[in-house]
Every structure is written in structure tokens, then in C-alpha cells.
Symmetry: C2
């Protein structure tokens, strides 16, 4: 029997993205029977304060709630933490301040995955808080081209309302196509709702959720030092 570290998922941002992330962890575990899978604890908490409002200064900070969720997961045995929400990583320091918190950073792993394609310019599909917090801008070593945040947010809101239908998918594909036209040779789906609408693009598409699932499993396997 393979020995895994227990994974804790700080989730609910949004709930569909969290369900998608859990499915990817299960699919990616490479297990052939129940007992070969890792234990995964999920806190799918849709009451985390809104990240965009917090960053705009019009709502409370999600930091304390995220730290409390991390603490709860650690108390139940979580050894590796993952948070399938890019924007919430603006408050990652508050999670890391919890004793025993080993958070795999979605931004770091998505940028690493993008750089494997040796891009000259990366197209970034993200919501306002992710852009304003400069989560990707301050870490990517190549120029970023931002997708229009209002159109991205409108589509993200549709996913959160349960709409992943063809019209929403077409609109997201249009956003990706415009990034390529503007010079992006790699695109990062830097919002965990985006891959629910977009599974391919005219250039390599880095799915931050997939990169996070892969890195989380590697850390849980013990392939990565904590």
C-alpha cells in the first residue's frame, strides 16, 4: 500500500471549481483500488468573503476565514494544503502563518507549467483581484497580456450560477482567441472557473487547476519536500 500525506482542500471559491479539483485529484492519483488513494479532506466553504470586494476595499478580508479553514483541516490531519482559487492566493500569507500549514501555491505551479513552453508573452485569463494583487505579474519572468476582466468576470459568474453551456464556452474561447491575436503564445487559465468553460486554445493552454492538482499529488506522495 502506498503511503500518502493527507491532502487538505481550502475550497468553495467557487463550489463547482472545488468539485472539479477533487475529481482531478482522484483521477490524477494513479490508483487502482480505494486503498491506494490519498485521504483528502475538503472544506467547501462558500461563505469565504468575496475576494474582488476585499481587494477593492469594499468588503471584509477573506484572510481570517481562510486561516481558520486551514487550521481546521490541519487539526483533522491535513499535511499538504491546496486552495483551488487563484484570487484567494492574495491572502496566502495568512494561511502560511498557521503552524503546520504547507500550502502548494497555484500561481507558482501555473507559472512553472507555462514556462515549460518557453513563451515570449503569456495571456492571462483572470479576475480583478488576481490582476490587482499582481499575483502573476510579480512572478512571471515574461510579459503578460491580460484578458478583459469584466468579460472574464461575467463568464465566471455564469459558471458560479451553474451555466457551463455552449454560449458561455464560445465566449470564453473568444477571449482566448483574442489573447493569441494580441501576441500571447501561451495562455494561463488563472481562475479555477475558467477550465470549466475552456479545455483548449490555439496555443498551449495552462490550466492552473490541473497544475495545482498535479503538484498537490506530488507533494502528498512525498516527491516534493514540504
Amino acid at each position: 500500500m502506498r503511503s500518502w500525506r493527507t491532502i487538505g482542500v481550502i475550497g468553495g471559491m467557487g463550489p463547482a471549481a472545488t468539485a472539479d479539483f477533487l475529481a482531478r485529484l482522484v483521477d490524477g492519483a494513479g490508483a487502482t483500488r480505494d486503498a491506494d488513494h490519498p485521504r483528502i479532506l475538503v472544506d467547501c466553504n462558500p461563505q469565504v468573503p468575496d475576494r474582488n470586494a476585499a481587494f477593492a476595499g469594499t468588503g471584509p478580508s477573506p484572510g481570517p476565514v481562510l486561516a481558520a479553514m486551514a487550521q481546521g483541516l490541519i487539526d483533522r490531519g491535513a499535511q499538504v494544503l491546496a486552495m483551488p482559487c487563484n484570487a484567494a492566493h492574495a491572502w496566502a500569507a495568512e494561511i502560511r502563518a498557521v503552524p503546520g500549514a504547507h500550502l502548494i501555491d497555484i500561481v507558482d505551479v501555473a507559472i512553472a507549467a507555462a514556462l515549460r513552453h518557453a513563451p515570449a508573452q503569456i495571456g492571462l485569463i483572470a479576475v480583478g483581484a488576481t490582476l490587482d494583487a499582481r499575483l502573476y505579474h510579480d512572478r512571471a519572468p515574461v510579459p503578460l497580456i491580460e484578458a478583459d476582466r469584466r468579460r472574464v468576470q461575467a463568464l465566471v459568474d455564469r459558471v458560479k450560477a451553474g451555466d457551463t453551456g455552449p454560449l458561455a464556452r464560445d465566449a470564453m474561447a473568444g477571449i482566448a482567441a483574442e489573447l493569441v491575436e494580441a501576441g500571447a503564445d501561451v495562455i494561463i487559465a488563472a481562475c479555477t472557473e475558467v477550465p470549466l468553460l475552456l479545455s483548449a486554445a490555439p496555443v498551449p493552454l495552462v490550466d492552473a487547476t490541473a497544475a495545482l492538482a498535479q503538484a498537490t499529488l506530488a507533494a502528498a506522495r512525498g516527491d516534493l519536500a514540504l
Copy 2:
């Protein structure tokens, strides 16, 4: 903002079925934004002792582990519990013995859903422990026709190994067709791996996972008394 009770999921039996169940809870919540969703705590624990081996007397009982998982979820705030595994309900009494445990019973809700179709005979696709524990047999008011447990188990094991491909789907469809030929006018997918291979049958198909998700959400909404 809608006020929900917090849902706790006793999961990992198997992990793919748990991920499927979480996705159904999220889809079924009818929410249009994050904050309108229920909080869902998931313990996806693939180390729960094997239900078939336990029922056959060749392995330890999963009861104490299931009770400990229930306790952990309740400690973190879960008010309504659901366990997306039919066979594990043979140990439901040990979960219900945990103070504060309100477990929605997958067998009860699946039978209720089947009876809405006024069947004369129900076809049951289940694994050995579910059959031997008479979970459905002792509660269904109409005769049951059992699918061949060995063929069901072989397909369930394929799902647990990550195979939900066309050959496995065809084989499960064949099992359903044989139940209809044998006289079943309703079929219950009474194993949470089954709906990952079977989404329709020549007669009404009751998906126990779907029935559990619906009843769990109703209880979390407060529509059902606890």
C-alpha cells in the same frame, strides 16, 4: 442569503464516487452565486476497511472508522451527514450512535425514489456486502431481482481503477438489460460506482447517488426534519 445546514460527507468508498457526489450536491444546490451554496465538509478516506471483506468475515469492520469520520465532521460543524456508498450502510447504526449524527440513508431514499414508479419488481445492481446485509431486501416492499454480483464487482473495481470507458459502460448496460429481461420494471443503481458507467436503462433507472444528493440538500435546506 439562504441559510443552509452544513453537510458532512463520509466519503472515499470509492474516491471517484465521492467526487461525483460532491459535484451533484453543487449542481443540485440551485445557487446562482458562491454565497448561496451550502458549506460541505468532505472526508474522502480510502482507508475505510473493505466492506465486502468485513461482511464476509475476512477483514476488520469499517464501523469504528466510519464513526470516527462522522465525529470529525460533526466536530467541524456538519449538521447533516451523507455517505455515498451503499454497502457501508450496513454499519449505519455505528454512525448514528455518534451524538449529533443525522445520517441521510441512501437505501431509504433510493427505495422511495424507486417506488414512485410503482414497480412490480425492482432490479438491483449492487455489490456483495449490500446484498448479503439485505440492505434493500429487508426494506423494499416488492420483490428484488439481483444482478450477478461477480460481474457487478468486476465493473466496480474497474471504476475504482479509473476505467469508465466504453467497454465498461457497455458491460454495465448489458447487466441492466438482463435485469429488464428477467422482469424488472425499475432498476436501482445501488452502488455509487454504477452511475459512473450507467446513465440510462430500458426501464426507469433510479440512481441511488442522485437520490441521496437530493435528499441531503433537502435536509440541509431545512425542508426535512432531522
